[in-house]
């Protein structure tokens, strides 16, 4: 029972991280239909930026987080303007190839600049260690993670449902042409959403250095997981992504814990089965062009 709850807890924390990183991809995929496999690069950038800020610039963990968010968001806008923009109307194959190219460049570059090893991160004192809750030793850091993600989720949902900008996003995801004819600048909406999503990915990457590890292969290693979460949850749906992320997080941790010989591929089997049952994702919104 103990280990079950422990596995559940770890799985949820892991899923929460996957959610933060992947939600941006889900919205932009639902919004523009752009297959950006390189989304993990933003998370990776966030991680490396955090590590560098903390070790080279001496900035603390908490203050560094918003800086990472803004920096990655800004950087992603540059990438969008220069590379992605010309391929919005292009075939999925071309988009996949472009993003794979970006992954390769990022991986090689990171390897060159920081070396191939794992990046260590020093977590502040008050976040490390365990917290005793009903006899369970819950990692403080993971609790912190879940709290942050809960806040972010609330902010996202509030933003999408209650603000004007959120309404514009929802309209554009639902039906681009109609949104445009209503005067919504879809390309502007997309740019800001893209920046927001990438910033979140960077934040997630930074938060995840301790849990997911950080090395130049990060973007490739976790590529499948991010895509998985988005496709299973259904592109364009925040709740779908959350649900899928938590489900897959728990499934992965449980798989690795209970059946370590088959650990790695429980998640692939789960993905294939889920995709066959729900080809448009658990809560996917079909884009009407």
């Amino acid at each position: 029972m103990h280990s079950l709850l422990g596995v559940l807890f770890d799985g949820l924390a892991y899923g929460a991280l996957l959610f933060v990183i992947s939600v941006g991809l889900s919205i932009t995929l639902g919004l523009m239909g752009f297959n950006n496999l390189a989304h993990g690069v933003f998370a990776m950038a966030g991680g490396y930026l955090l590590v560098t800020l903390m070790s080279k610039a001496g900035i603390g963990f908490l203050p560094a987080l918003p800086i990472v968010f803004c920096a990655v968001a800004a950087g992603s806008l540059v990438l969008e303007r220069t590379l992605y923009r010309s391929l919005y109307k292009s075939t999925p194959l071309n988009q996949v190839l472009l993003s794979v190219g970006i992954i390769f460049v990022a991986t090689a570059g990171t390897n060159y600049l920081w070396g191939p090893g794992q990046q260590p991160v020093v977590i502040p004192e008050w976040l490390s260690g365990q917290y005793d809750f009903l006899g369970l030793d819950l990692s403080r850091y993971r609790l912190f993670l879940m709290a942050i993600v809960a806040l972010i989720t609330l902010a996202l949902v509030f933003g999408l449902e209650r603000t004007r900008f959120g309404a514009k996003i929802r309209a554009s995801v639902d039906n681009q042409r109609t949104a445009e004819s209503m005067g919504i600048r879809v390309d502007r909406v997309f740019q800001l959403t893209f920046a927001l999503g990438s910033g979140l990915a960077g934040l997630g990457g930074a938060l995840g250095v301790d849990v997911l590890g950080l090395d130049p292969n990060f973007a490739v290693k976790y590529l499948v997981y991010f895509l998985l979460v988005v496709v299973v949850g259904g592109p364009g749906s925040v709740f779908g992504t959350l649900l899928a992320a938590l489900l897959l997080g728990v499934a992965d941790i449980a798989g690795k814990y209970y059946v370590p010989q088959f650990g790695a591929f429980i998640i692939y089997v789960a993905m294939i089965i889920l995709l066959l049952l729900f080809p448009h994702g658990l809560l996917g919104r079909r884009k009407s062009k």
């Binding site: 988009q95 794979v100 190219g101 460049v105 990022a106 591929f265 080809p279 448009h280």
Partner: protein
């Protein structure tokens, strides 16, 4: 009336001209035969290029001709490789038997996988193919008793070809073997793609909705071509096993699927030769750059991909054909 007759025969001759063997094609195959005599010390490398080219051709069938984007094609290559390896390691040494076994195994896998592809859009399909590839990799990784895991399958002994020619250390027999099999499969593919069936496939790629509306049974067609492509990939994998007498787990890796996609793009899709050209270019450059520094290779590959998707959409052969088109147009304009 005679005007109409002239036009009628013109359209027929236009089609015939496209299907005829061009001099460049014949030169290509003659060149490959020539390699045997001119580069006797690089035959092992040449065989590798041919095998990869064949593998790329099998991907071209489904990607270039039928329009299915897949990131898991290495699954069939790997299944073929392991089948041939396991057969050889367990007493069935005849190479042709190995090819047969590999083809059948990969074909069965391809057949069942094709049903998974009929649901959902492009991204879902991509994910399913990716998932299957990764799944098989993990299975091979875990089933070390059968596959040798990360260390690879040892003890692969290949018998003599026709009971007469043994596979020598310099790869001479291997090269001829691979060249002949590759050529036969190429002929098979070429005639298929120039047939009404090939035309139907291309129309599926061009517009699935319309293809359905003129009566093409899309799922059946796609299942069909996917199975055939899997068989061919499996045979390519078996060739690798037989010529290297070893099966490494990387035959199933995502890297191999991704590299293959890149190779085909570099060479150009739906041209029949794009796979071979792309494989040659890719493997040459990889050989040079990887030895310098593996990071340079990856970086270069990334830049190449970015540049290609932005500027060079149809690959090397595509670029050539556009050039040929442009020259042809210029010539037509000059005529009265």
């Amino acid at each position: 009336m005679s005007d109409n007759l002239a036009k009628a025969s013109r359209h027929l001759s236009f089609l015939k001209a496209r299907e005829r063997w061009k001099p460049a094609e014949m030169a290509f195959w003659l060149l490959l035969i020539g390699v045997y005599f001119v580069f006797p010390s690089s035959l092992v490398f040449a065989s590798q290029i041919l095998i990869t080219g064949l593998f790329a051709l099998s991907l071209d069938m489904i990607l270039g001709y039928a329009g299915i984007v897949t990131l898991g094609h290495a699954a069939f290559f790997g299944i073929g490789a392991y089948t041939a390896g396991l057969m050889a390691a367990n007493g069935l040494h005849d190479p042709f038997l190995g090819l047969l076994g590999a083809g059948i195994a990969a074909g069965i896998a391809g057949y069942f996988c094709s049903f998974l592809l009929s649901r959902g859009g492009d991204l879902t399909r991509l994910m399913i193919t990716l998932g299957i590839g990764l799944l098989l990799y993990e299975i091979a990784n875990s089933a070390t008793k059968y596959t040798g895991g990360v260390d690879g399958l040892q003890g692969v002994e290949i018998g003599k070809l026709f009971g007469l020619f043994s596979f020598d250390l310099y790869g001479k027999t291997a090269y001829i073997y691979v060249l002949c099999i590759a050529f036969l499969l190429f002929l098979f593919t070429r005639s298929m793609m120039h047939s009404p069936y090939g035309l139907a496939l291309r129309s599926i790629r061009e517009n699935q909705t319309r293809a359905l509306a003129i009566g093409i049974p899309i799922s059946a067609c796609l299942t069909n071509i996917y199975t055939i492509a899997a068989v061919m990939a499996g045979i390519a994998g078996a060739l690798l096993t037989q010529t290297t007498q070893f099966v490494g787990i990387d035959v199933l890796s995502f890297q191999r699927s991704a590299d293959l996609l890149i190779i085909l793009i570099i060479g150009g899709t739906a041209t029949m030769y794009g796979g071979f050209i792309g494989a040659a270019v890719f493997m040459f450059v990889q050989d040079r750059l990887s030895n310098l520094n593996p990071q340079y290779w990856q970086f270069f590959l990334g830049i190449l991909l970015i540049v290609m998707t932005l500027y060079l959409r149809s690959g090397i052969l595509g670029g050539f054909s556009r050039l040929a088109h442009a020259i042809g147009n210029r010539r037509n304009k000059e005529q009265p």
